[in-house]
């Protein structure tokens, strides 16, 4: 892999940038791998990257039914934060933030991580109590999070309307200054390029159609559109389609798949300095470096794999955005879309082993998996390589639904369900 550098940029400028090499190969699948990761999104590619870079494993493939980063990785609203309530979650998401901070350097790929601050608005007395509880819990856990009055919130984000005459007036806000955004595609591409250079085969347009188990119950490999691929270990990182894949191995999971929508506006000059989210009225918004306003809406209330979602959901969000930020009332929206998110009963992910030997699962990120991409891949790689969880993901087992040790983050999840 040619390292990207100023010298490399200058050299390529002389040939009008026509001779940059490919960022990753397009290999045909081998007959056998030590580890097969199903799903080439951010989490899957990060897992493969850390398996190769931290655990020295080489014989790895990442399979995807489409192109890499084409699922929820390419569809989310790119918000990064770690102000979750419970210590288990704070540790997991803070682990991700710690990795985000050095990620561009490590991958030699600019993921455009921007710690511009994430502000969560409180509109009711209940919101204030919940957010203050989060702030105190976060401070005890060493996670940065602070309370702002409505005036301080407007100072931090000048477009914010804090008048009392709107339907849900702003009564305060919780601000995490280390939160922010990153470029979602660059995260997938950076991990893909890094993993590929360490020998990982990334096989796109190769849908997994079955998971084969041996007489002892252990995983033998995966059936794919390009034939059977033998594998000692299989990691499923398939977001909204996890239930479908796990059913192939005969494992039931506590997930429901819902469409989650987002939309972007026409690009404008820099006008919006931070990320603002509101759980209560279902809206979150930031401005990309390209200038578009990136707006996240809610989920549909029923199970669906349609990758669209109801138009009344986005209408509801736009109503809220227009009331909170009156200057956006005449903005035009360019496009909207949906992604399928896999939601667990306690709104916390499942990262770990399954009842099937050799089969591992990383799922249940629901509406907020992007923020955790590096941390998720890092601890999942550890789980697969060592066949036991990293201390950080040890509480996030599938077994917690049997023991009852749930990690209830319904209030911290970005989207009210």
């Amino acid at each position: 892999m040619a390292r990207y550098s100023f010298l490399e940029l200058a050299k390529n400028a002389f040939s009008a940038h026509k001779n940059w090499g490919r960022q990753w190969r397009a290999p045909e699948p081998k007959a056998e791998y030590d580890i097969v990761i199903v799903g080439a999104g951010g989490h899957g590619l990060a897992t493969a990257y850390y398996l190769a870079s931290e655990h020295g494993l080489k014989n790895i493939a990442v399979l995807d039914k489409g192109w890499l980063g084409g699922g929820n990785t390419g569809r989310n609203t790119t918000i990064v934060r770690s102000n979750y309530l419970w210590e288990e979650s704070a540790a997991l998401y803070q682990h991700a933030i710690d990795l985000w901070e050095g990620l561009s350097q490590e991958l030699n790929y600019n993921v455009m991580y921007s710690q511009r601050g994430v502000m969560m608005l409180a509109h009711t007395v209940h919101d204030i109590q919940v957010f203050k509880r989060h702030i105190h819990a976060n401070r005890l856990a060493g996670v940065q999070n602070e309370w702002l009055t409505p005036e301080e919130a407007r100072e931090f984000c000048p477009p914010l309307n804090i008048q009392k005459n709107i339907r849900y007036p702003v009564m305060g806000a919780a601000l995490q200054r280390v939160g922010g955004t990153a470029r979602h595609d660059a995260v997938a591409w950076g991990y893909a390029r890094g993993a590929d250079s360490l020998g990982v085969d990334i096989i796109q347009n190769c849908a997994v159609t079955g998971i084969r188990r041996g007489a002892d119950g252990a995983v033998e490999g995966v059936e794919t559109a390009k034939g059977f691929i033998k594998a000692k270990k299989v990691g499923v990182v398939a977001a909204g389609h996890t239930s479908v894949l796990m059913e192939m191995a005969g494992v039931r999971v506590p997930l429901e798949s819902n469409p989650l929508q987002a939309l972007v506006s026409e690009p404008v000059k820099p006008a919006f300095p931070c990320v603002v989210m509101s759980n209560t009225i279902h809206a979150y918004i930031s401005q990309s470096d390209k200038g578009e306003l990136v707006i996240g809406a809610g989920t549909d209330q029923f199970v669906s794999y349609s990758q669209t979602g109801g138009i009344h959901i986005t209408t509801h969000t736009i109503d809220a955005i227009c009331e909170l930020f009156p200057m956006f009332r005449r903005m035009r929206m360019l496009r909207n879309w949906g992604g399928i998110v896999d939601v667990t009963p306690d709104r916390s992910p499942i990262i770990g082993k399954t009842p099937v030997p050799g089969l591992y699962v990383n799922c249940g990120w629901g509406t907020g998996g992007f923020k955790a991409t590096p941390g998720s891949g890092h601890v999942f790689a550890h789980t697969i390589a060592k066949d036991e969880p990293h201390p950080i993901n040890a509480p996030f087992t599938l077994d917690r639904f049997r023991t009852g040790r749930l990690i209830d983050e319904a209030a911290a999840a970005a989207v009210a369900h």
Binding site: R252, E256, V303
Partner: protein, 101 residues
């Protein structure tokens, strides 16, 4: 937005009048104290989450307020059958075949 026909009211109304109640035909255990942790986990949390033909509960919360069941294709979101609570689950495979899937 889905259009849903309430089997009690007999009219097709927009989704906003309804609340989805999740997967249908999950019976509460008749002998709760006799169940193992695995059986409780299955009852409380495990869901089929089918990509395809799926039976689910709906409630006409802003209408008659009653629960009913529906079979829907979770890929196209089209309703294939709507029936009253208490009626047996229809044969999902044959409904899928009728819908050409």
């Amino acid at each position: 937005m889905l259009l849903i026909e309430c089997p009690y009211c007999g009219v097709e109304r927009p989704e906003l009048e309804f609340r989805c109640g999740g997967e249908a035909h999950i019976a509460r255990p008749e002998d709760p104290s006799g169940k193992t942790d695995e059986e409780w986990a299955e009852f409380l949390y495990m869901r089929t989450n089918t990509k395809g033909v799926y039976a689910e509960r709906w409630r006409h919360i802003h209408g008659c307020g009653r629960f009913f069941n529906a079979v829907r294709d979770t890929v196209s979101d089209k309703f294939l059958k709507i029936y009253k609570a208490g009626e047996p689950m229809p044969d999902l495979a044959s409904l899928a075949k009728e819908a050409g899937k």
